[in-house]
Amino acid sequence: MNCSQVRELMSALHDHELRPEAVAEVNDHLRDCAECSRLVSEFGELSNLAAGLRNVSMSAPGWATIEAALDAHSWTQSQFVRHLRSRPARIAIAAGLLVAATVGIGAYYLRSDHNDHEHVAAHFGHFLDEFDRNPDEAEQVLLANYSGQSVSLDEAARQLKYQPVAPNGLPKGFTRDRVYLLKMPCCVCVQSRYKDATGRTVVVFEHVDDQPAWFGDRPTMMVQCHGLATCLVQVDGKLAASWKRQKRVITLIGALDLEEVSRLVEFLNELYPQSAASDQALNRSDGCKCHHCICPSVVHSDLVLRNATDTRPPWQHLQ
């Protein structure tokens, strides 16, 4: 096993959740690798520290408090039933229900929209969690939850009712592997999976909607990339980026660094029909559309990266 393989199993080793044969392989590596041994030992120190968190200096509310809250809930219900027995109360309640129903229906639609966003963010969160480790497994999260269907380009265009840009190809060096349609709550989304010469997976999503809540509460950063307000997120050792071009939202997962993000944004941008040339100005003036992303420290900066030999991790390029 190499360092990367061992580090993937480090928590499982530390928590005694590894199969015995894997333990032996990891231990073989640890005997010869001081750096990995140090990390395992630091996991142990973290556990010792965390043991102190088991003591909490406060107490839970007494049962009387919980019981009172439960009683208040059932009292409200019983009072409501008792009120129903008098005619004026019945009329008042009927009128109240009518108003409440009107308000409730409106709230329901707002709330269900909110819930949809939360579910999508949760599923996409799982996808991002898995992506760097195992892109195929990550993909299954979305395919299973959104009735993923492998399609040809023609079939994708027919079902989407527009010609998607992302499945048409990425720059030289990337080969299109699969195209899927995902039936998401907001819309139908086309997912295009590409591989490069090393077998690395890059996925591009395209759909028509508001900027999605897919990045959940991960730290994000807004940059201007070829005139497009682009939301960037680190996905373990890779980068994800999302931007809007007219009504289309493109989300790219798996870029190596900012330079590659910049290259792919530029490439996909050029695939748009020329008639949409005014989009760039539109996007510039609109600024950040990423209102669903929680950006505690949104930074708008120009994306200027030219040094291909820079070996820093992708995220450090942004600092």
């Binding site: 959740e17 809930h73 505690p296």
Partner: protein, 206 residues
Amino acid sequence: MSVRSSDKPRRFMTDAASNGADRGVNASRRTESIMRIVERCRQGDRHAQQELYEEFKDKVLRLVVRMVGQQDAPDLVQQIFLQTFRNIRQYSGRAQFGTWLYRLAINECLQLRRRIHRTTCCTLDHEPIDDSMSWSLQSENQELLGRALEGIDAGLRAIFLLREVEELSYAEIASVLQVSAGTVGSRLNRARSRLREELIELGWEP
């Protein structure tokens, strides 16, 4: 031993079933006893509700304090148990009751954090772990850990607490978070690495 990187991914994690088999007869009896209490709770038995509350309140409090801080913890614990008793008919019995309760508790914690985040757009202020702690190196480090936990993603914090504080197995955590055991391992790796980075930034010397 040489392992080619092109080898197909192998299964390294232990089975949930083998973990389950190790729990022993006492755990099984305890589970049955809790299921009986849960059944009575479903029928609205107030004594059973109290028994269930007494059984789980400290575990839920401990998790909630570490997830959202001491200030909001009592109200949130109350809210979690009210939700538990209102929704207990939805508990199917397929997972352990504790797992179901942890899932509900974590969802409530994450919802509260989202509400706070939406309304204030800032992170939670640091709350000391325990004011009565003596200033030994160990307690200083524990306070650092409390602060480091606040600095990492809430989902990573939850998984770290479920493992290190609640001492759940990977199979149990997988059931709480509804992910695979492999995902539990990789998220724990990330949680520990992020915590380590935060701690070192705060001055921790491993």
